[in-house]
Assembly symmetry: C2
Homo-oligomer: 408 residues x 2
Amino acid sequence: MPQTLHDLLAAFARYGGAENGGVRRLAATSEDKAARDRLRREMTARDLTPTIDPIGNMFGVARLAPASREAVLVGSHLDSQITGGRFDGAYGVLAGLLAVEAVRDRAAARPGAARRNLALVNWTNEEGARFQPSLTGSSVFAGTLALENAWSLTDRDGATLADALTAIGYRGDAWLALAPTRYVELHIEQGVRLEEAGADIGVGSGAWAARKVSIIFSGEASHTGPTPMPRRRDALRAAARAIEALYEEVERELSGAHASAARIEVAPNSPNVVPEKAQVWFEIRHEDEAIAQTVGDRFLRRVAAVCAPLGVTFDIAVDERRSSASLDQAGVDLVRSATAALGLSAITLKTIAGHDALAAQKRLPASLIFVPSRGGLSHNPLEFTDQAALDKGLSVLIETLWRMATAP
Amino acid sequence: MPQTLHDLLAAFARYGGAENGGVRRLAATSEDKAARDRLRREMTARDLTPTIDPIGNMFGVARLAPASREAVLVGSHLDSQITGGRFDGAYGVLAGLLAVEAVRDRAAARPGAARRNLALVNWTNEEGARFQPSLTGSSVFAGTLALENAWSLTDRDGATLADALTAIGYRGDAWLALAPTRYVELHIEQGVRLEEAGADIGVGSGAWAARKVSIIFSGEASHTGPTPMPRRRDALRAAARAIEALYEEVERELSGAHASAARIEVAPNSPNVVPEKAQVWFEIRHEDEAIAQTVGDRFLRRVAAVCAPLGVTFDIAVDERRSSASLDQAGVDLVRSATAALGLSAITLKTIAGHDALAAQKRLPASLIFVPSRGGLSHNPLEFTDQAALDKGLSVLIETLWRMATAP
C-alpha cells in the first residue's frame, strides 16, 4: 500500500504537471477534469460509488454499514495553486482513497464492527487560485456559502464557476445521500512547526483567524511624461505605499501576525500612463482574532492616510473576516490516541493555512491531521514530504477512520 | 476645411472608440486596421499615393514637384494608449492630411513655386502601449532600430509585431521612394505650459532626456499563511518599496525630474501565494540628461538596498537611456515665423513626452508644433483641445509646410 500511495501521487502529479516538477491544476480546468476523471476511475476500481454534487464536490461512498444512514467523510482537494506542489490537497484525497479501502477491507473481515459508512470527498476550488474566495465546495457543503453565490463566482476571464463546472462535466445534481457525522482531512503542514519539533504528526486543534481585504485604489490616467508631478493621481503609487504600510503595521507592533499582499491588478498597466486603478488583495492572519481585526483596522487607517495626499481614493471591495476556530476536541483526542497506538509522536497545533476542514466544521465535527513539510515550503513546485512521513500520515488516517467508523 | 478637420477627428475617434468617449486603438490591432483602412481611403480620395513600408509606416505622397526626388514629411500616429483620447496622434495625421491637400492645391495655383514634394506619414506603434519600446516605426525609418528587432517585438500574448502587421495587412514591402528632407509633426501638448502661458502655439526646440528601466524582482513562492514572515522572499514587497524609493529619490532632491512606475506584472499573482516574481517598468525624465542619469543611478542603488533585506534578487531587464535632444533650429525659426505671419502667439518649449519627431530627427531635421491641452490631461479619455485651437494648429502647419516645400 505505501507503494500504491507513492504511485498514485506520482500519477496525479502529471495532471497539470509543470516542467519544474510542480503542479498547475486550477479548479474546473481541463487539468482538474483529467485528475477528477482519474479519481472517479480509482473510486470505481475500489467499489466506491461516485456521486457529484451541484458545486462539483466528488464523493465516493463505501457502504460499510448498509443499515446506517451515517457516514464519516474523509478527503481534501485536487485543485492546486498556479505554482502548486504535488502534495497540497492531492495527498489528502489519495491517502483518503486508500484509507477508505483499507478500513472497508478491515470491516469486511470483522462483520458488525462498522457502525457507519465512509465517503471519500474531493472538494471544489479549495485553493481560491482561480475563483475567490477559497474553500468554495466545502463552504457550500457546510451551508455557509449559498450555492447560487458559489456558482456565480467569476475568474479573471469572466467565466463563472457554474459554467466552468458544466464545461468539464462536473456540475452534478446529487447531494450526498448519507448523513455525515464527522470529517477528517490529512494534509501536509505547509509550515515548519512539525519539522522544528521533530514530530511525526500534527493534530489540528483549531485555526488562526484571518482578515482578507481587497482594496481598489482609484486615481486618474494621464501621461507619465509631461503631467506635472503634483497633478498626478497615481493609483499604483498609493497601492505600493499601502503594501508597505501593511508590513509596517504587522512588524512595528511585533504583533506576531502573518500578512501578505500577493495579488495586484493595475489599469491600464501601460508604461506611459499614470495608473488610474489598482486593486490589491491583502490578508492578515493571527491566532487571536481580536489582534487580526485590530491590525486590519489600523491598516485601513494607514490606507486612508496613504491615499489622501496622493489624491487617490479607495474602496474596500472585500473585507472578509474568518474567525479563529477550534476543531472538535473529541476528534483531537481520538487522533492523538490513534497516533500513540501506532507508536508515532504528535504535537497539537493550530493551522494558519485555510483548509476544507475549517469550512466543514461549521456543519459537523472535523479533524485535521498534518505531516511535516520540508522547510515549510508550499504553494511552490519544490514542496516536499518524504515517503516515510507520508506513510505515517496514511497509517494514522486509517486508524482514525477505523475508530470513527466503529465508535458507538 | 475646419469643419472637415472636426469631422475627420470625430470619424477616426470611432475606430476603437470606447464608451467613455476615449479611444483604445493599440498598434496593429483590428481597430488600428480599421483606422488605417480609412486613412488609405482618405489619401486616395485626395490623390495622395499610398505606400506601406516593412514596419507598417503608411505614406501618402503628393507630387508637387515631379522633377524633384525630395519630399517634406508630415504626420504623426494613429495608434493610441489603452486609455487614449481622440487627439493624441490622430490630430497630427488628420491635420497633416488636410495640410498636404491645401499646400498641394496652393502649389497647383502657382506653378513652379513648389521645389519638392510632400508625404503624409502615419508611424507604427508610437505609443508603445502594445509593443515596447515606443516610437517603433519612426525609429526604423531613422535607422536607429533594426527592422528585424522591431519585427520581433512581442506583446503580452506573445504575438510579434511582424505577425500582427501581417495579420492586419500592413506589413508592406516598399520603402519610401523619395528622399525626405524634413519632418513636421503637429501634436497636442499633453502638458500645461501653453495653457499657463496663454499661447496659441508651442514650438518644440528639443526634448527632455529619459531613462527607462525595467526591473525583474525574484523571490520565492510560498504559502501566504503558515510561511513564517522572516522566511518569506516576497518579490511584490520589494517592488512596492522600489516604487516608493523612486518617488523619494525624485522628490527628496527637488530634482525637477518626472518619474513613474506605471506597469507591473506579478507571478503567480494569486492571493495565497507569496509572489515569486514581479516586473516593474520605471521611468525618469529630466530636461538635463545628466540629472536623469544620476537620479536613475541613485534609484538603482536604492533598489539594491531595498531587495537585500527581503531576500529578493533583481535583474535589470531594460535600461534605455534617451538623450535630451535639440530639434533643428532652422525649423524652429521657420515655424515661429509662420506662426507670427498668421498673427498667432507662440512660445518655445522642450517636449517631455516622446514623439516620432524625436526619433525622425536622428535622420533628418524635424519640427514639432504643439497646441494647448485642456488641463494638460492626456492618455485619458477626457483629453481635450477645442476646435479653435485645433484650427490654429492646422493653419500653422499649412503655412509651415508651404514654406518648407517652396524654400530654395
